[in-house]
């Protein structure tokens, strides 16, 4: 196995680490922030489920990214992932909530520009449209769940202590599901550009067969998990209460809405099921968990009559959504030039 592959893969692992630090906080940040779950418990559940989601549900979204730009040289893939990671790191340091998906899409478009490869505008439009559909859908789901739960609490006369227990168990389940959906949906961001050059062969463990791509995704999942354990705690402290203060039940609703959206955009079975009945389905596209969380939080804020939402912060968040892909594309373009002309590496063919 070529060692250089792993050197180039390091940028993807770095991106995976930053995704773990940044996006995994979206999945269980609210649960830890509201003190319903301990960080270690949440991080352990999330890490296992992220890896499972990446390995067993991550293929659909990867294909879409490959369709957007089939990065055909390992050095190019290295730079695409590195640019996205640098953009995420820079934006996070500026205190702006950032989407890894937007960063990788920006990088791929940057590679397309640099290598004179045609950018499929239909695919690009499909991906960009999800940046709007994702938070809107998440908001709508959150509103529906909020209204159902509100009515249920009103009529069930459940004791506050009992309610606390159910919320806690619900948060554990939602975190597991959310982490699985995040792994399935976002592994493409981390490892998608390395799929074509993956040197791994199929492995059989008992009754289970893992393809080369799944092994690659497993490594990506490990990188995401390392981000979860090493850095996400810092980000969790700011998630949730930044846009609107949250109760544990609201935190649960946010996680469920976000997880459902991520899952809907990643699940091939749901897509095939809907298409089998001629029902319009959602594209299999990596979407931003940050956007899904913010969509859910705004949805609940609207359901509550619009009170308590800090609109000023949201404008900052929206600005981040526009600047992330642009910054990422620019970094990628400049560094591809450096890689090709200073280090004499082939970044495309």
């Amino acid at each position: 196995m070529d060692l250089s592959y792993f050197i180039f893969l390091s940028s993807g692992l770095f991106l995976g680490w930053s995704l773990g630090a940044n996006d995994a906080a979206n999945v269980f940040g609210t649960a830890v922030g509201t003190k319903m779950l301990r960080f270690k418990t949440a991080a352990t559940i999330a890490s296992i489920c992220i890896i499972l989601g990446a390995v067993f549900g991550g293929s659909g979204t990867s294909r879409t990214l490959v369709e957007l730009g089939s990065v055909n040289e390992l050095a190019g893939a290295f730079m695409v992932a590195l640019s996205a990671a640098l953009a995420v790191y820079w934006m996070v340091n500026n205190g702006t909530p950032v989407s890894t998906t937007q960063a990788i899409v920006g990088s791929i478009v940057g590679w397309n520009f640099y290598s004179n490869h045609h950018t499929d505008t239909t695919i690009l439009a499909k991906i960009v449209s999800t940046w709007i559909i994702c938070p809107v859908l998440s908001g709508i789901i959150a509103i529906c769940i909020y209204l159902i739960i509100k009515q249920y609490i009103k009529h069930s006369q459940m004791h506050i202590i009992h309610q606390d227990l159910y919320t806690r168990l619900g948060l554990i389940a939602a975190c597991a599901f959310g982490a699985y959906a995040l792994g399935a949906n976002n592994i493409a961001n981390v490892m998608g550009v390395f799929v074509d050059a993956a040197p791994f062969h199929e492995v059989t463990i008992g009754y289970m067969k893992l393809s080369g791509t799944q092994i690659l995704f497993f490594i990506g999942g490990l990188a995401i998990s390392s981000g979860v354990f090493t850095y996400s705690q810092k980000i969790i402290k700011t998630i949730g209460n930044d846009v609107m203060s949250m109760s544990p039940i609201i935190a649960w609703i946010v996680v469920v809405a976000q997880s459902l959206v991520l899952f809907l955009f990643a699940s091939e079975s749901i897509k095939n099921f809907l298409e089998g009945y001629n029902i319009p389905s959602l594209p299999l596209v990596p979407v931003s968990s940050s956007q899904a969380v913010i969509g859910a939080v705004i949805g609940i804020g609207i359901a509550k009559g619009g009170r308590g939402i800090r609109w000023s912060l949201l404008s900052k968040v929206s600005l981040g959504w526009i600047t992330t892909p642009i910054v990422s594309a620019l970094i990628c373009f400049i560094f591809l030039f450096v890689l090709e002309n200073v280090f004499n590496l082939i970044v495309y063919h």
Partner: protein
């Protein structure tokens, strides 16, 4: 896993029972107080009154133990983290009502105030009102834990009864100071009446806070 779940539900149920029992104690102490004062007015510091005082003391003691258990369990099991501070304050407030019933009953025992016959019905009326106030406070608080949409209804009752008790105690004090009894007696009876009426005031303060907690409890 199944065992952990069973154990979690058992612990939760035990705490719910303790909270319910704590509320029962408020209703018990209010009823016993009412009965004790009626006995005192009839028999002064009789054996029956001593027995009732002892009963109030026991209720207060049990309530203290329950309060400690509830507080410990809430903290040690890290339950309801968003509302824990409010619940602890609510429990403390309710406990202060129970303590005040005990203090006033003991004050009657120590000071042995002599209420002339013509004030007995009003004094019983005042005790009835403060007891009702405390009972409705307990019901409102219980509703906070289970059915918070009804907290406002019971709170309104507390406000109404508290203002009635203010009128009753005011009228009593007025009548006492208009009477011919020695000033020392007037001051003693006035002091005792204020102490009894204060129980309703404490209940009203608790309700004020409870209504704020209820707003926070709504998701």
């Amino acid at each position: 896993m199944f065992q952990i779940k069973i154990s979690l539900f058992a612990q939760t149920k035990a705490l719910e029972n303790k909270i319910d029992m704590f509320h029962d104690k408020i209703i018990d102490v209010a009823m016993t107080f009412k009965k004790a004062i009626a006995v005192f007015l009839r028999e002064q510091r009789s054996l029956e009154y001593k027995k009732l005082c002892k009963q109030i003391k026991n209720i207060e003691h049990d309530a203290d133990n329950l309060r400690r258990d509830i507080e410990n369990q809430l903290y040690s099991q890290n339950l309801i983290p968003d509302l824990r501070a409010d619940v602890l304050e609510l429990v403390e407030n309710l406990d202060s009502i129970i303590n005040r019933f005990d203090e006033v009953a003991y004050k009657f025992y120590i000071e042995r105030p002599e209420f002339p016959e013509e004030y007995h019905s009003r004094m019983k009326e005042l005790c009835e009102q403060v007891s009702d106030c405390a009972e409705n406070m307990a019901i409102a608080s219980r509703a906070f834990f289970r059915d918070f949409s009804t907290v406002r209804d019971y709170s309104q009752k507390v406000y109404f009864i508290e203002s009635e008790s203010d009128l009753t105690s005011g009228k009593m004090k007025e009548a006492i100071f208009d009477s011919e009894m020695p000033l020392a007696n007037k001051l003693q009876l006035s002091g005792i009446i204020s102490e009894v009426a204060d129980i309703a005031d404490i209940a009203e303060d608790c309700v004020d806070e409870l209504l704020i907690f209820t707003v926070k409890r709504d998701i």
